[in-house]
Symmetry: C2
DNA sequence: CAACAATTTGTTATGTTGTAACATTTACGC
DNA sequence: GCGTAAATGTTACAACATAACAAATTGTTG
């Protein structure tokens, strides 16, 4: 079985630390400014492998008596999405940290990294956990079918609702 | 080239009439009540091959001085989605009429027809036109990859942003 | 350092999308 | 007709997102 799903037993502290370090590196190399506020938002989104709503991010930021406005959170999220560090899940109206570090474009390189971006998401309807992957076969199938229809693909959105291995194992056998 | 994209020259009046007749039939056979209000909402959504927002549907209903409330539109849309007559495009936060009549389940048959539903959507970022299709290869690729991850698929959402043949032809060739 | 430009953040207000809760009406079976 | 279930009306509100403009910060250049 593939390892796309984060195991409940994984070392999440390290998982977060690694992601933050990777984000620092990617921004530095790309000449983007990962300011304290943006870093804070990224840290909050990284806290769990479930998607988080913008207003939930906001609530966490203001938990200690802050006065941050919604727009501030959206600006930070927009920045992080531009850097490929965060994705927006349209089907959930929520945000999730990118879990594929090799996809943080560090400059004016090849593909744009806005959203959609070719990644696919498996979303557990039970626990909410999200697995991100880039399956070449899925992407190829979409691109070729689109081509047959005379359609030029720019951003495929693939978000699959279902049951993750942990939840399936807990109830099914 | 496949025919998934509605041609600008097609007889849209007939296109709408056929869809309405099909909807009547599907509801009758399934024992669902296609009331005048629901019929009106469906007609509005069918008016174009671009997705329409719930509040735009509302505006059309109230154009002639009505006093319909948002909840009314959402209830009608929910009903139509249950019947498989309308789909919600998460990436656009908007609704589009189903263009695959064979997918209007007419009873307690096999699959559920809520949303997601296995269909794939090609959305033109230029003119907004949407093509709906059910490509077995895309669905298989998703299901098999999910299976590899130990994930049980219930509702795959595939919404592909890009450029439709009409718009590509207008600017590219 | 001073002066300037560009980016980031703050502040206020508002637009857009979607639902909760409860009353009333309408359609259907007996 | 009468009771029940489904559909609709009414009011209020929750959740998601952005516009517009001011202020502060950062980086650059002389």
């Amino acid at each position: 079985m593939s390892t796309v799903f984060p195991k409940p037993t994984h070392d999440h502290g390290r998982c977060v630390d690694d992601a933050m370090a990777e984000a620092e590196r990617a921004c530095r190399e790309g000449g983007a400014r990962l300011t304290p506020q943006r870093r804070q938002v990224l840290a909050i989104v990284l806290e769990s492998h479930q998607p988080i709503g913008a207003y939930d991010v906001l609530a966490r930021m203001n938990a200690a008596g802050g006065r941050t406005a919604p727009i501030t959170v959206y600006r930070a999220l927009d920045f992080l999405m531009t850097q490929g560090l965060v994705h927006r899940l349209a089907s959930r109206i929520a945000f999730i940290a990118c879990s594929l570090p090799d996809r943080h474009e560090t400059g004016g390189g090849g593909g744009q990294n806005a959203q959609g971006d070719g990644a696919q998401f498996l979303i557990c309807g039970d626990c909410g956990t999200v697995a991100e992957m880039t399956d070449r076969r899925i992407e190829t199938a979409i691109r070729e079918r689109a081509r047959t229809a005379g359609f030029i693909v720019s951003a495929p959105v693939v978000e699959v609702e279902g049951t993750c291995p942990n939840c399936a194992g807990a109830s099914d056998g």
